[in-house]
């Protein structure tokens, strides 16, 4: 049972060949590029969703921040589609791997910080000291604020990894419990099955919400620094 829980998170290999690259590239096949003015239904639905999301997310930025629109929109599409595809049976979710989430979080966060330090040095350094702090507290507060700045990429990556992994693990455990309970007591199995259904609905929501939160936080860091 122990070995069984973790094997679904290992890197998938087929006959010794790692196919994790194919699995990461697969969601791009589900988003065909719109070639015409009026597209087919799939492309029109995706176009509408992306326009809705981009307006909601990029209105708060000024002109300089809005140059990041393409990056943030592709980020939310990638994380959302990868998380949702991971809810299919037997599939592998790349966002459960901390390595990949760190690879997404650190460059984006570092990009926003570097941009802030380069273009508006005084203003971005001023974020280290909130307004109206008493004079003796200043050194300690600067240290605390700089630690909280350095922990931002770690928090981004670990938040995404932990949420998705925990959801998948819960589904595995409760599904296994339902199967085991069928022979013992049907009513308990039914209750557990209802819990499983509610959990799956939650997982769908979590998949989308995590994508949104990741992208929103990156955009917030961007807003601070432009």
């Amino acid at each position: 049972m122990n070995e069984n829980l973790f094997t679904s998170f290992t890197s998938p290999t087929m006959m010794g060949l790692p196919i994790v690259t194919l699995i990461i590239l697969f969601p791009s096949m589900l988003f065909p590029s719109p070639g015409r003015l009026i597209n087919n239904r799939l492309t029109s639905i995706q176009q509408w969703l992306i326009q809705l999301t981009s307006k909601q997310m990029m209105l708060i930025h000024n002109h300089k921040g809005q140059t990041w629109t393409l990056m943030l929109m592709s980020l939310i599409m990638f994380i959302g589609s990868t998380n949702l595809l991971g809810l299919l049976p037997h599939s592998f979710t790349p966002t459960t791997q901390l390595s990949m989430n760190l690879g997404m979080a650190i460059p984006l966060w570092a990009g926003t910080v570097a941009m802030g330090l380069r273009t508006k040095t005084k203003a971005s350094l001023a974020h280290f000291l909130p307004q109206g702090t008493p004079f003796p507290l200043i050194p300690m507060l600067v240290i605390i604020e700089s630690i909280s700045l350095l922990i931002q990429p770690m928090a981004l990556a670990v938040r995404l990894t932990a949420n998705i992994t925990a959801g998948h693990l819960l589904i595995h455990l409760i599904g296994g419990a339902t199967l085991a309970l069928i022979n013992i007591s049907a009513i308990t199995a039914l209750i557990t099955f209802i819990i499983l259904t509610l959990l799956t609905v939650l997982e769908f929501a979590v998949a989308l919400i995590q994508a949104y939160v990741f992208t929103l936080l990156v955009s917030l860091y961007l807003h601070d620094n432009t």
């Binding site: 290999t13 087929m14 087919n40 595809l85 299919l88």
Partner: protein, 88 residues
């Protein structure tokens, strides 16, 4: 069995059974040829099921079903032990 149409340009369904080995050997197995084959298949599927005026849910759900089945293969080794058999 001399064919009127040269062998190179026939599609698979038109090739006679005796000509099959030479037809297979004649196909383009370079990486560019294989990539071309994948691209042609992608557009054939896309134009038949998705890129239509009133496309339904079938176009994308067939892709997702194939994805699930494709992901079953690496897991088979571990899932073999969970079958409902008396002796494993």
């Amino acid at each position: 069995m001399a064919s009127v149409v040269p062998l190179k340009e026939k599609k698979l369904m038109d090739v006679k059974l005796g000509e099959l080995p030479s037809w297979i050997l004649m196909r383009d197995f370079t990486p560019k040829g294989i990539a071309g084959a994948f691209q042609r298949d992608y557009y054939r599927y896309y134009n038949k099921y998705v890129n239509v005026k009133k496309g339904g849910v079938a176009g994308i759900s067939m892709v997702l079903a194939a994805y699930v089945l494709f992901n079953y293969c690496p897991c088979y080794k571990e899932l073999k032990h969970e079958r409902l058999r008396k002796y494993h």
